[in-house]
């Protein structure tokens, strides 16, 4: 990988420092699949390890979106009902039973 500002190859450290921007520009956030980084990832095993780990963390994070296993306690709904019932600004009086 060539430093766009100086025309010379990046060092491993420079590559690691540029990772926030490189990850942002990478297709699907996958640097390791981009052939432009093949050489530096081969020559910098520690950086390659870091890239693999960070990609893995980002991939696993996407799995956290669904399904949402956590639910609020029933007290939350009771409090909402109570607030809405006493809220004079509410558009309608409510006496809601949770299904």
């Amino acid at each position: 990988m060539i430093d766009p500002h100086s025309d010379r190859a990046w060092t491993c450290k420079e590559f690691e420092q540029a990772l926030p921007e490189l990850f942002e520009r990478a297709q699907g956030g996958k640097l390791s699949a981009d052939p432009r980084f093949a050489v530096i990832l081969r020559d910098c095993p520690q950086a390659a390890e870091l890239v693999r780990d960070l990609e893995y963390i980002a991939e696993t994070a996407r799995m956290l979106l669904e399904p949402e296993i956590e639910a609020p306690s029933s007290d939350v709904w009771s409090a909402i009902q109570s607030k809405l019932s006493s809220d004079t600004e509410a558009p309608a009086k409510v006496d809601i039973k949770l299904n």
Partner: protein, 215 residues
């Protein structure tokens, strides 16, 4: 209370498909049908609560903010025009309420950008030059969820909004009132910190297993 911005983030449309029964419940709730509002609560309580819990890392506060979000929803339901998916709109409303809560809680006098930066001891260690054990394959969603909960608040916010919820850096920057560069940098530091936490946890678990075997 300040009104939450309800502009939908475009990146979330594909992640929030319509839910069966939602459109009907929405229309009826707008007309004051209390059963329809309870249906909306039932459909979205987990999504809203999980988001609050991930952003705040605290059950009690997350429940309070879930309550706030649905009260806010009830009062603002009439302003939902259907220009985005309802879940997207509710999601953004919740994010903005949580951010307002965080600002009120301790960030009144300084900008969020300054205060979401963690202290030096919370910052991820820069370990250029050393070889690390590989993380891939050793972490499941439960372990990651737990690790995210231990992140410093600023890191956790950006990580949850970007990597879990799918917001773009420009959207996060707008929400957190920071630069996009700062959002990118915070995200990278959050991932580095998570890597560090996950590796420590994996190492501790390995040592515990070895101890069990040695008995």
């Amino acid at each position: 209370m300040t009104q939450a911005n309800t502009t939908p983030p475009p990146g979330l449309f594909k992640r929030n498909p319509p839910i069966a029964g939602e459109a009907d419940a929405l229309e009826r709730a707008k007309n004051g049908d209390p059963d329809a509002f309870s249906k909306l609560y039932a459909l979205h309580k987990r999504r809203v609560y999980t988001l609050c819990l991930r952003m705040l890392g605290n059950v009690s506060e997350a429940e309070d903010m879930t309550q706030e979000a649905f009260l806010h929803l009830y009062r603002k339901l009439g302003s939902f025009r259907g220009e985005s998916a309802f879940s997207t709109w509710l999601h953004r409303l919740t994010v903005n309420l949580v951010l307002m809560h965080l600002r009120k809680k301790g960030l009144q006098l300084v900008s969020l950008e300054e205060t979401i930066n963690p202290s030096e001891e919370d910052a991820p260690k820069r370990d250029f030059g050393s070889r690390d054990p590989r993380l891939s394959g050793s972490v499941d969603r439960v372990a990651l969820e737990r690790a995210v909960g231990t992140l410093p608040p600023g890191y956790r916010l950006v990580f949850v909004l970007h990597d879990v919820e799918g917001y773009e850096h420009n959207e996060i920057a707008e929400m957190l009132e920071c630069s996009t560069g700062n959002s990118k940098s915070q995200l990278h530091k959050a991932r580095l910190k998570l890597r560090e936490i996950l590796r420590q946890n994996a190492q501790a678990s390995l040592v515990a297993q070895q101890g069990e075997l040695a008995r």
